[in-house]
Chain length 564, copies 2
């Protein structure tokens, strides 16, 4: 091994991983990590839980599992890496193969030569050019400094009003954090729905849950101004003229890759604005690699470049870049399927692959199914989960899977991410052999049952629509015959309350006379989760009714009000 | 659709599923379900939790998620299926296409014609020909009747002694149930380890945990007799002469397929003793299908036939058999990879695919790695999990994965089952894109990190052995230089206590002089989980030490006593 000089710019996730991997694979290498912030290896995905007070100590976000804070002394001793904090890289000189750095605290400057450079400059929060964005009390949640500030502010503002601009992943996590900390929180999302990685059927369920926990959520309208008094924020004005008084505004409309250094050095940027890398995480300069939020990577389903600023991918990309910088392109990074999960109070919301909307945008002819079920047998204390499965209509290949609910979303999301990575089809998942015992899952695992629903739809054995479609029929005055096939007791506890007919499935075959006289009349059938709804469709169709639709996922997947 | 007469023998899992699927796909079909027991659709995998008292009501094991007990009236009304309970099938007349039945309660007999027959006769507990097996207080846990009896007995025997014969899945689940119910339990397993679906490294960790919860576990010695007084059990005698007094003996040495009916009817049985079926779940008679514990199915990794008496597979097989009985072989069942999971107090133990032992028996040239880690970041309240990954040495294809621990075994096991089903390699899993957020997983998911360890081993970057191998070296007097590289505080709290040297990783590069003078001397290095142990190996090898072994999984995967 040669005594290569490896310089890594950026010390949060991808950078430390790249530096560590490089040093482990070549103990002779001189590895230097340059970090603008005063801290290293911050667990930035943990900031919301730190703001909420759930994570007690700040050091816990910076420490190894053994409890050692990852500071320059740790990197020197345990890793053999020279880490310089509060050190900003000002420029990359590709000809001289040096980087120019400047101490943020002391102003000291210098140059550092490299044989291989790894750029991990991360991302920065997008802040729209809104009037008032400079006011005191307007912040983001992307740095540990932000987190420190928000934590202190939330702790001292119990009962105070906060507005979060943006209902994406960070916005919703921050909403929970501030409510947990005792604030009165309104999320304002300009798009028609929160959590745009989900299709609306599932996003509305998350919204319903967050609302039940006290969050106020406004969708479909943006912010036109942030208002203030004496330099301090006092409220926001919405695009429709409404005013929301508040003492805190968190901007959470997403992040953009930090590419100024790379761009100035002439490295190629891609159509998404991220640094272009090949499968080796090598940039357009063969001696410079890049990894983490600052790069664009390949979507493994569409093959299109995309930004995927997630901590898990940053680590994997860093591992590949670090290895290749010392071994010479022995490792490859295959890209992303866009897997994510987030906690929303006691709900979780997860997605892998493409949503229906994104799949259609990418040109796929798709089939979908929504399924609701308990996550394990009722006698084990089950909680509901609702999933949507998206597949290619021609091949049955699974393109996407999303899951939300109080139940074990984590298992479902992880196993289906692996199914997508394996290129499995709906038929494959329908006959999957997964670990089962009552404390852990249903005998027919929720995802397998979801595949059964889609399989039935693809074969024409079931015809269903999401609750949102049924709702749009009702809203448009095209009211079908609504047929609830649950038991009387279930009906008394909770129901649509929209003029539906109750005929318990067990009595259906004897009460066909109560169905519409016109066998072509539209009928929508459902139960709690629409398993009985599906059985009803089979019975009705066998009896000549030819316009029966199952409301997929039943009442559990109904994101609107229910009558109690 | 024709008005086919479908007869299903067996009403626990596969049978009701087959009957329901058949009726849903052909409302015209006359579907009859014949069940020997008085109950239908029993959630038999829930019996241990019913015995423990965790499942409150007996009806909960028999009810739909909506709380309706699945009795003949339910099957008639909701499913359109004629279900006859307490009705034993005595013979199948394949020529006449009838089954002869007899009421267990009234003695009434009759014949029922079929166009298609589905045999779901399940399994029965193996009971070895031990003296004393007829005594009062000797039972099994395979029927609801067994469960009722055991639950009553356990409730009235608090503090009483029980012996469980067999340390497999049911034995260990029953052990937990009886301890939860307040009994003093000893498990006796004739094999050298409990839970034979696990390799010994992980089985020993489960044993250590169960022992810490009060279970007494004896391995490597069988039972030679059950002793009694006045017709009631008073104890057991072990093969080595030891006597264990007890008032309850549970036989849990496994189950055998119920094939007498099939055999008498001349249906082909396979080498494992199960009914032979093709991929359509069709037996050697084209008008007879079979599903559930009574059949043998294909192992998807070895292609060998095997018995897989699991409730999840029974449901999938029943779904296929039910469909094909009415539609004519449109669905196929692909076989099993042998996925399983079980709860052991607050531990879980899971496995998919082949263990190392079974992979070697099947002729694979295998590579393996053991990895221990928290299941999520420390600041989120992490708990440890320990995994073993088994792959084909030539192709890197994953052959098996097992995971045990206090942490989220469920997610790891489910995602890796899907990885095996997808034919993924170690390299594929090493770069998997899984849903990540701190409440749910590590940034580098535990299974991905396990693949990293195996990848490093396969590329010669890491050389490791399981703790059991290191223990055998010590036991055989071949003591290596034991190098613990944790911090002093961690060491003070807990350590091997076998004469090891402590050199914290952070000091290692400066303290190389304290390593053995002979650079060929065997060194075993480890930390809490052996991540630092691996880094130590890299540093030592770079400094010329050529006989360094990482103890895989570190102290978390050490299944023997630790010094505190």
């Amino acid at each position: 091994m040669s005594t290569a000089r490896i310089v890594v710019i950026g010390g949060t996730a991808a950078g430390p991983k790249a530096a560590s991997r490089a040093k482990r694979l070549n103990e002779e290498a001189e590895v230097t990590l340059l970090q603008k912030a005063p801290e290293l290896s911050m667990a930035s995905c943990g900031y919301p839980y730190y703001v909420a007070g759930e994570v007690k100590g700040r050091d816990m976000l910076l420490a190894t599992p053994a409890g050692v804070v990852r500071d320059p002394a740790f990197f020197a001793g345990a890793k053999g890496i020279t880490a310089k904090v509060s050190t900003e890289v000002m420029a990359i000189d590709r000809k001289a193969k040096t980087v120019a750095w400047k101490r943020v605290d002391t102003g000291e400057t210098g140059h550092l030569p490299y044989d291989k450079l790894i750029v991990c400059t991360g991302s920065r929060p997008k802040v729209p050019p809104l009037p008032g964005r400079e006011l005191d009390g307007v912040t983001t949640l992307t740095s540990l400094e932000d987190a420190d500030g928000l934590r202190a502010l939330a702790a001292s503002s119990k009962g105070g009003k906060a507005v979060i601009v943006g209902g994406g992943l960070i916005g919703i996590e921050t909403c929970e954090a501030l409510i947990e900390a005792g604030m009165d929180v309104t999320v304002v999302e300009a798009l028609p729905q929160i959590l745009s990685f989900l299709d609306p059927e599932l996003a509305l369920l998350v919204q319903k849950h967050a609302t039940s926990k006290g969050a106020k959520i406004i969708t479909g309208v943006g912010i036109s101004a942030i208002n203030g008094q004496d330099g301090k924020v006092s409220g926001v004005t919405l695009a429709d003229g409404r005013e929301l008084p508040c003492g805190l505004v968190v901007m959470a409309i997403g992040v953009a890759p930090n590419t100024a250094l790379a761009k100035d050095a002439g490295l190629a940027l891609g159509p998404t604005g991220g640094i272009v890398t090949d499968e080796y995480m090598r940039t357009s300069d063969p001696d410079i690699y890049a990894a983490g939020d600052c790069v664009e990577i390949k979507n493994r389903i569409t093959n299109a470049p995309m930004l995927a600023p997630f901590g898990d991918l940053a680590n994997l990309e860093g591992r590949v870049a670090g290895e290749n910088a010392v071994l010479g392109d022995t490792a490859t990074f295959p890209g992303t399927i866009g897997s994510g999960i987030c906690k929303v109070f006691d709900f979780a919301a997860a997605s892998s692959g493409l949503s229906e909307r994104k799949a259609r945008e990418a040109g796929f002819d798709v089939v979908t199914a929504i399924n609701a079920s308990p996550d394990k047998p009722g006698f084990m204390g089950a909680k509901p989960v609702v999933s949507k499965l998206i597949a290619d209509a021609k091949t049955g290949r699974i393109l996407g899977f999303a899951c939300v609910g109080l139940g074990n979303v984590n298992r479902q999301a992880a196993e289906m991410a692996m199914a997508i990575l394996g290129g499995l089809t709906v038929d494959d998942v329908a006959m999957a052999d997964l670990p089962y015992a009552p404390p852990f899952s249903l005998a027919i695992d929720h995802s397998i049952a979801t595949a059964h629903v889609l399989q039935n739809k693809m074969r024409g054995l079931m015809r269903g629509e999401p609750s949102t479609v049924v709702k749009s029929w009702l809203d448009n005055g095209n009211k079908p015959f609504l047929l609830d096939v649950r038991g009387q007791k279930e009906f008394d506890e909770m129901r649509l309350g929209l003029g539906e007919k109750l005929v318990p499935l067990g009595q259906l075959r004897k009460r066909l006379g109560e169905m519409p006289a016109d066998k072509h009349a539209p009928i929508v059938t459902y139960c709690k989760v629409s398993m009985r709804g599906y059985e009803t469709q089979r019975v009705l169709e066998a009896n000549g009714y030819d316009n029966v639709t199952v409301m997929e996922g039943g009442l559990v997947a109904w994101p609107f009000q229910l009558e109690k």
